[in-house]
Amino acid sequence: MSLNQSKGVAGRRVVNSVMTTLTAACAFLGVAVLLLILGYIAWRGVSSLSFQFLIDTPKPVGEGGGIGNAILGTLVLLLLASVIGLPLGIAAGVYLSEFGRGWFAGLIRFISDTLTGVPSIVTGVFVYTLIVIPMRQFSALAGGVALGIIMIPIVTRTTEEMLRLVPTSLREGALALGAPQWRVTTGVVLPAAASGIATGAMLAVARVSGETAPLLFTAFGSRFFNVYLDQPIASLTVQIFNYALSPYDEWHDQAWAATLVLMTLILVINISVRFFTRKKF
């Protein structure tokens, strides 16, 4: 057997470097697009940012104003959505992973997958019919419920996937010590999957924080500070929507600044969740 280089080697080397370069270029392009978007938003938005901007309510054109109530509104809506969506989604994910066998679990999985594809505006209209009409007004509650409903299937699926990643040997080790099934799930499996589940939850929160359409039918928007759940409430996304469609340049600038604030908010959520669930073991 001869180990000397044959004639095909040079060709193989060329193909190798071309493909490596191509895939690296594609990866770079993908990241570059994202960086371009972030950079452009930062550039357009930073000029209108000020401390006053962050705590003021909107004012008529020419008088300045800010997005303080929108920031608060978004936070209230996200909190409400998390309270509704996270426990239900995580519990459903736990059921599907630890207890679900047979046709019922399969059905739930299928419905959950389908629900992730439902357009968010449909969810908004659904909640409009269910909550806004009986209450006879737009409300923060309706907005939170709509966002929560959007969150549930996302959280369910990621929770189930993360729990499945926990090796069976861990469950068997706990069972062999005389632990009933629920203790195995809460004491061993969930802690082991905690950071993965938190990542999934954060992804869901980040996803719904950018939703505009369902809020148009439910929370509607407001010019004032509000924390009451039965009143309409402002939100960053709806505010950006309204400002962007207006004919005033000043409001366009404010929309860019609000977009920058929204992106920063999502980034902060990301980082803090990662920080608090970093793997200690």
């Binding site: 040997s169 469950r171 080790g173 069972l175 062999a176 005389g178 632990a179 004491g187 061993v188």
Partner: protein, 278 residues
């Protein structure tokens, strides 16, 4: 190796006659298995197993791959219940009580019959929390100092205390393979089971760690009844008092270890031990 003439009380594959445990200091039968069949769905993995495991004895299960020894081990603490489609028929009596009778508390059974697995599976928690886990969930201690005392005792019983006593709060996953397995043994011992089942506990370990585990097993039999599945015949010869040889889901022979390895009753056993198959 010559085979002695087969005495009248020899067992046959399928155990038409039960072998009584010899009357020695080993104690009465802790576990009595009668007519045990086991199925994974439609396929039968165990055929009419009948066996006595005396108290405070190390019993080894040997046999080629796929012969059912691990399956049988797992029937003793009903770990096979977790496998969908698995079904046992027959009787397994521990201390006179049939563990497959309806109404048996499986959780309590598993506390009294502990298990150590082939690949060590420490929880992603601290060393202390691993050993304390069984104690906490079964609420076996009343105070923090009692808990600490029991954890220390278990780690000493597993010959791990001196190596970890300064770092009880550090992660269990940072230990070496042999240490992790001894940690799993300590975790199983902490709840003070009566029987300890070991499924090839040293198969993933280097010779030095294996030796430590084997010494540990010989130490432990003074207090616990131990059943160990092993692929390694020499390990069975080193460590156990009695050995059971399985083949294709049937129990071929049960005997005192020394007799099994020098003068077995069945030809099949002799063939396996001398390496003619397996």
């Amino acid at each position: 190796m010559t085979t002695a003439p087969i005495p009248a009380t020899a067992t046959r594959a399928g155990s038409e006659r039960q072998q009584q445990p010899p009357r020695d200091e080993a104690g009465p039968a802790k576990i009595k298995v009668r007519d045990l069949d086991f199925y994974y769905g439609r396929s039968q993995a165990l055929h009419s197993i009948a066996l006595d495991v005396p108290e405070r004895v190390v019993m080894a299960f040997i046999g080629p791959s796929g012969c059912g020894k691990s399956t049988f081990l797992r029937t003793l603490n009903r770990m096979n219940d977790t496998i969908p489609g698995a079904r046992a028929a027959g009787e397994v009596h521990i201390d006179g009580q049939d563990i497959y009778a309806p109404g048996v508390d499986v959780v309590e059974l598993r506390r009294r019959v502990g298990m150590v697995f082939q690949k060590s599976n420490p929880f992603p928690k601290s060393i202390f929390d691993n050993v304390a886990y069984g104690l906490r969930i079964n609420r076996l201690t009343n105070s923090k100092s009692e808990l600490q005392g029991r954890v220390e005792e278990a780690l000493k019983d597993a010959a791990l205390w001196s190596e970890v006593k300064d770092r009880l709060k550090s992660s269990a996953l940072g230990l070496s393979g042999g240490q992790q397995q001894r940690l799993c043994i300590a975790r199983a011992l902490a709840v003070r089971p009566e029987v300890v089942l070991m499924d090839e506990p040293a198969s993933a370990l280097d010779p030095i760690a294996t030796q430590k585990i084997e010494e540990l097993i010989v130490e432990l039999k003074r207090q616990y009844t131990i059943v160990i599945v092993t692929h390694n015949m020499q390990q069975a010869a080193r460590v156990s008092d009695r050995t059971a040889f399985f083949w294709l889901g049937k129990l071929v022979e049960v005997n005192e270890t020394e007799k099994m390895f020098t003068n077995p009753n069945e030809k099949l056993t002799e063939d396996y031990i001398t390496g003619r198959f397996g």
